[in-house]
């Protein structure tokens, strides 16, 4: 694209702009370059961490039992760090730059620092990986003390966190520039608001991480003699769980963004959607308690208040988004002419577009499999029959893989043509990818939760206990569940590989977008797109029978499954 504006130099690095031929947005070249590198590195960690995950799942498949015990625990540690931390945070930094500089039409603040942030994050992530692969740091992603990793494991994480903090500061700085330079009118767009939510929670997350990881690093090199294991957990999960809330905020922002870009969806109400994001900022950090419900030394009062986010106010936020986003899609589709019956708007949605199908699957998997089970597992007494069983990874693979990762994959299908300005290659593979990946992840989640209900421990090399001095047999169904989990993991890995192949080939070997191809295959379709709505802001009130049916089904499933678990609990030994 031709460079049409030459802005004054900013710091030491000049800033150029191009105008996006598809959206009309002014694109800052520094922001664009940083989005590219962060997204590419993210995908590298997804590929590596995903491969490790497959090997872990194949080891837990009793008939395959791929890895020896030491390699299993080593790769499980690396899997957690690479996908839960590095893939997601690198991508989130790209999302932050997109939601600030690109959407707000302005230059990125302090690009030199943004590059420094990127370098620090890469160095930190690589050092942590080296520490784990050297074999002295198989402490799991959670690294609970008094189990000790090599010092450079903690150091790598700290350096990574410092880099992330700098990137978040560049995001905030960009907001200030946009406001100062008047690059937008009135309030920031909803998508940017969601990104701000994610960034604020990120600051809390990184602060918690610093408070616990710096002393732990000093302990690992011998300057501190003792770290209390309970205190460690309270603060570590201030980072560990809060970081999942960054993911939730970022992924919900992406749902809104994709609904807007593909369907022209407007939020049902700006006020309600923003209030829902605000609930995240105010209450999500209390969720450290989810990991302390069967811990000694923590009172029931503390557990109940914190585990429920005060009065389930953050859950309220998610339930609002869960209604608001399908509602916005339905309203937009009805406006676009699909107005027959209850579900024509959904049937005639662009299911062949991976950005759309990925978003819808992300919403459904996150809500039904991840959200409901998360609330149930986070109930004080119910945690007793789930804590540290495979139910836990079953739940969070639905939220973090089915929800966050799939949403990130979905928006990547838009970033490739819009930011990398390349044609998406292998269109057929891309079309099927969200379905294959979504099916695999749903299977992983359901079968692990099934095994967890039967008591199978997480992070466990041998549920046959063949080397144990005492025997114990899990029911045969548990072994069946682990086998099915292995098959589902193969399916998810195939879906992941399809994504990596499509994206890597498109970015590095794809045909550049030309005015002709943009005219022939617009990234933002005419039915949706930017130009179809006459005004921005809240949707005018319309009847949304389809959304009412969908949220009703969700609500009934939620209530039933919640009380089924209380029934399970009532059948175990009385204890107090």
């Amino acid at each position: 694209m031709a460079v049409d504006t030459q802005a004054p130099t900013n710091g030491f690095i000049g800033t150029n702009y191009r105008t996006c031929p598809e959206t009309g947005l002014k694109v800052c070249s520094q922001a664009e370059a940083l989005i590219k590198v962060n997204a590419v590195v993210a995908v590298v960690f997804l590929a590596v961490g995903g491969l490790f995950g497959l090997m872990v799942a194949l080891t837990r498949w009793p008939a395959v039992h791929l890895l020896p015990a030491d390699w299993f625990y080593l790769l499980l540690t690396a899997h957690g760090a690479d996908v839960l931390l590095f893939w997601i945070i690198f991508f989130e930094v790209a999302v932050l730059y997109f939601a600030s500089a690109i959407i707000l039409n302005c230059r990125l603040a302090a690009p030199k620092f943004a590059w420094l942030a990127f370098v620090l994050m890469v160095v930190g992530a690589v050092v942590a990986n080296i520490a784990v692969l050297q074999g002295e740091s198989s402490v799991m992603f959670t690294s609970y003390v008094p189990m000790q990793a090599a010092p450079h494991f903690y150091l790598g994480l700290i350096v990574f966190a410092v880099g992330t903090l700098i990137a978040v500061c560049c995001f905030f700085g960009t907001l200030v520039i946009a406001k100062e330079e008047g690059s937008y009118e009135g309030s920031v767009p909803l998508v940017t608001f969601g990104a701000i939510t994610a960034a604020i929670i990120a600051v809390f997350t990184i602060a918690s991480g610093a408070i616990i990881l710096i002393p732990t690093f000093l302990w690992s090199v011998g300057y501190i003699s003792h770290i209390d294991p309970l205190m460690y957990k309270v603060i570590w999960w201030g980072m560990g769980h809060a970081s999942q809330q960054i993911n939730v905020s970022a992924q919900v922002a992406i749902w809104y963004a994709i609904a807007a870009m593909l369907l022209g969806a407007k939020p049902l109400s700006e006020k309600v959607s923003r209030m829902a994001f605000l609930m995240y900022i105010l209450f999500l950090q209390l969720a450290s308690a989810h990991h302390l419900l069967v811990e000694p030394g923590v009172s029931s009062e503390w557990k109940i208040f914190n585990t429920s986010y005060a009065l389930y106010l953050a859950v309220l936020g998610s339930m609002i988004h869960g209604m608001s986003i399908p509602g916005a899609m339905e309203a937009a589709q009805r406006r676009n002419g699909f107005n027959n019956g209850i579900f024509e708007w959904l049937r005639k949605a662009p299911w062949g577009n991976p950005a759309f199908s990925g978003t819808m699957l992300s919403i459904v998997i996150f809500g039904f499999l991840g959200g409901i089970t998360g609330v149930i597992m986070g109930t004080e007494q119910l945690n007793l029959i789930m804590h540290n069983t495979l139910y836990v990874p079953g739940h969070f693979h639905a939220t973090v893989v089915g929800g966050t990762t799939l949403a990130f994959m979905a928006i990547t299908y838009l970033l490739v043509p819009l930011i990398f300005r390349k044609e998406v290659m292998f269109k057929k593979i891309a079309q099927w990818q969200p379905y294959v990946f979504g099916a695999g992840v749903s299977g992983i989640s359901l079968f692990m939760m099934g095994a967890g209900t039967l008591g199978v421990a997480r992070r466990h090399w041998d549920i046959g206990f063949s080397d144990a001095a005492m025997s114990f047999d899990y029911p045969a169904t548990a072994f069946l569940m682990m086998g099915l989990n292995g098959i589902a993991a193969l399916c998810a890995a195939l879906g992941g590989a399809m994504f990596v192949v499509v994206v890597v080939c498109s970015v590095f070997f794809g045909k550049p977008r030309t005015p002709e191809s943009i005219a022939a295959f617009p990234t933002l379709p005419k039915t949706g797109g930017v130009k179809t709505v006459t005004s921005y802001g809240s949707e005018t009130h319309v009847k949304l029978p389809g959304t009412i049916v969908l949220v009703s089904v969700f609500f009934v499933a939620f209530v039933l499954y919640y009380y089924v678990n209380w029934k399970y609990l009532s059948e175990v030994w009385p204890l107090s």
Partner: protein, 181 residues
């Protein structure tokens, strides 16, 4: 369009649709119900985790376990000859976690109440009673006291479900629940 600033700059003054108000109200009330269920279970439910915990030096905890074992051992079990302890109902009983065993084996009487003390001698462990699927975290330096009343007889496995190093998957203990003699 969520990608652009709302044109109505007073968006927070826009009225809400009936559907939105209804859904927010339902979700809020459901939150109160779930909150109330947790609180209520402390009054009507029989399965609540104890709030009774003491700080204890691992060696001091070990000494208590030894004392109980010396007094009440009835036989040995398993490849390594772990003592099986049959303590008096209603008393304080102990089980410790260490790399990589649950020690000793307990033999309890059905429908009798015991005060079960759990602690670790080294790293964190996960007390996972199977097939009941009761899961409690065990920390070094903390003595957690659970008042338990086994209500079904049988042989129960105690699996470790907190990763505790390379032998984690070999860490299995036992609790027997027998009918009253």
């Amino acid at each position: 369009m969520a990608m652009f600033p709302p044109q109505n700059r007073l968006w927070w003054k826009e009225p809400l649709s009936g559907m939105e108000i209804t859904w927010v109200a339902i979700a809020f009330v459901w939150g109160l119900v779930m909150f109330g269920t947790m609180v209520g279970w402390h009054f009507v439910g029989k399965q609540n985790l104890s709030n009774e915990t003491y700080r204890i030096n691992p060696n001091a905890f070990g000494a208590k376990v030894e004392a109980m074992t010396a007094q009440y051992t009835v036989r040995e079990e398993g490849d390594t000859g772990v003592p099986v302890v049959h303590p008096k109902p209603g008393t304080d009983i102990y089980m410790l976690g260490r790399l990589w065993e649950w020690w000793p084996v307990l033999e309890l009487e059905k429908d009798q109440t015991y005060r079960l003390h759990l602690s670790s001698m080294d790293w964190q462990h996960g007390f996972s009673l199977q097939p009941q699927n009761i899961n409690v975290q065990v920390h070094p330096g903390y003595d957690m006291v659970l008042t338990i009343t086994p209500d079904k007889s049988g042989e129960y496995g105690v699996v470790c479900n907190e990763f505790c190093g390379i032998g984690h998957h070999t860490m299995v203990g036992k609790i027997h629940v027998v009918d009253k003699k």
